[in-house]
Amino acid sequence: MDAKSIRDVLNLPGKSESPAAKRPKIEGKKHESIQRELYALLGDNSAPTMLQQPQKQFKSRPKIQRKPGPWVWAPFTNQARDDGLVLHHWVKGSAKEDEEYSYVKYNTKIEIPEISQDAESVIEQEGWSIDETKKLLALCSEYDLRWVVIFDRWTDEDTENPRKIEDLQERYYYVRQKLLEMKTTGSAWTADQLSLYNQLDYPKEKEIARKEYLEGLMHRTPAEVTEEEALLVEARKLEAAMKRMNEEREELLRLLDSPEAAGSIAKYSTSQGVTTLAANLMQQGQNKKKKVESTAAPAAERPQASVAFIRKKISAREEAAYGISWKEKLHPGIQLRSAKFPTFKASVQQKVNSILGELGLPIRPVIPTDRVTMKFEQLVNSIVMLLEAKKAVDRLNTEIATSK
């Protein structure tokens, strides 16, 4: 069967003619406006080819390193329960069977002692039956010694005399003390037990008084509150003033007391006496000056009395052996050699120390005998002079430099 015969049957128009006719028609399309060749240059006039857009860089999916851990709806038991209730919770990974529930450790209870039969006689107290006491202890245990709640849940047996919270507390601490006594009679008390016993002392009257006081405080009016605060501020100021006064008094007393008079001061207590005292002091000062000058001259001479005395005893060589030396300007007393090293103020001392270090010497002479100390003194003084000279040089240099 060919196409033509089908067409005849179906009465379809001939196919070959129209496209054949069309095709050359299209190709031989005349362009009035522009030359054919030029048109050919333009191209097919087909749709412009799509520019390849750079593939937009979306954030790539995070690479999962490992498979997500499975969460398991795991059953667990709570060791603090005794009925074996099985609850469920989400657990990452596999459920470990029979692991101790991590919150069990928070199940703490305060230890409240039980009253045994023989204890009953020990803890007897007026107005408290054993049953009531047991009820109280049960409440204490249940509410972990929260007294406010225990008191709230307490039902009075005898509604005529309602118990106050202090009554309950008193009874409890009394029972505890007595039970502790019972436990430790015979053997000696350990320090812990003793401290516990003392802590169990409940001062009921004091507690009641304290609470009344607290209530009073609460009911102060705002005016009273401000008044109190003002009083407090004043009290503090007064305290500070008093402290200052005491300090000043101490200072004065110290000043007055320090030089103790050799003889009686009675003759100096009048104003005339004071003037004579002043005159004496002036004279002494002048005498001192004269003395210094006079002793400077006969420095070579040794004071006769001492010389004579000593010469009696020992020879010159032995003098050295005994560490005797002659000095001017001595004050009686005992000192350490090391106390007499020359000292200067900190900045200078530091520089001196560093120079000593440069010279290879320790800051303090190793064997401070008389001779060594003198030499050391000389050395340090000369170092100080050197430092001063250096300073002068620097100063002059800067002066010259600036005046240039």
Partner: protein, 414 residues
Amino acid sequence: MSSPAPAVYGGDEISAIVLDPGSQWTRAGFAGEDSPKAVVPTDYIVHDPPFIGDDYIHVPRSGAEVANPMADGFVSDWDGAVKIWDYAVTKKLGVSFSDHPLLMTEPAWTSTADRKKAVEIAFEELQVPAFYLARSSVCACFAAGKATALVLDVGHKQMSATPVYDGLILKKSSFHNGLGGDFLSKQIAAKLAAQDITVTPYCLVSRKAVQLDPFQAADSAVVKSAADLGLTESFLNLEKERVIHEFKESVCQVMEVPYNEGGAETRPPRPFEFPDGYNINVTTDRFTTSEALFNPKGYSAIDVPKDTVGAAKMVYDSIMSCDVDARANLAYNIVITGGTSLVQGFTERVQQELFGLLPGLKVRIYAAGNSSERKYGGWIGGSVLSSLGTFHQMWISKKEYEEAGSSIVEKRCK
């Protein structure tokens, strides 16, 4: 996102369900979440099966009666309550009671009989594997991140002040009265009635009146007749309550100082448009209504029982009835929770009043800023509690209930 190590935040979620039944709303959700997924109105339409849930109850049906299983802050009609809880948990949360431990909240003044009944219902009807009955004040306290606080819970049907000490309530120092959101609504209804303003619920309005002036009579609204639709009074009340609720939320305010007429008059009024198009400008009434929360004798528009005290005074009474040593701690940690506490200016006024009543104590008030946290404080605390690792020893298990009976609740749920 890795969670902090359990040791750090002490949590160990066991997928418990937390149920906080309130007088107006019943809140249910999963422990460990920060808000309940199922918040269902506690009102339901009596039917077989009952119509429960926001999407169902407000459809006007002829002869439909509205019922509420709660009374005095706790369940009184257990059958109705169970139906609501079943809807909340199985339909809204999509889980079954028997697969999850259940934590339920209760107010501070429930009787032993109430609590025993709750345990019974939980194990016998709901078939939970483990159960606990937590005090809603304690939960609100935990939601605020404290273990000791004085919780002022202003709910729909009641307001309560309960001291919580170290996670335990002080029953003898807990007070409550009937001043709540419902009280405000009733006052508003009374005041509107006194001014001859009829409240037409949305379901009866065919076409709103267009008003150009306030206080113009809105009789150009087209209103359906309730009788024609066969709507019961309880249903109508339910629907009217919605309008009044909107009114209350948008208009009521508490003055920061005790109410004085002059001051109130200088405040700008708030407009309100009723469903039928009726507009009013509310001036001093919006202050006096909420003033009644603080001074019921002086300002309440309806009758209140003789010894009802205001909010601040109730807090004061509660603190003062506690032991002296505990008072400072309680006053320094006052938690305000409950939907009605969101009335504008409420928390500031409480603070103001307490400063005056407790001059010797440092008063600090903690009130969640987020309205969701304020409304769901009890539920959130329950969620916190039942997801703690250290709490899981306190559940009452089915086995324990079977061995010891319902009296186990008094021993375990302190």
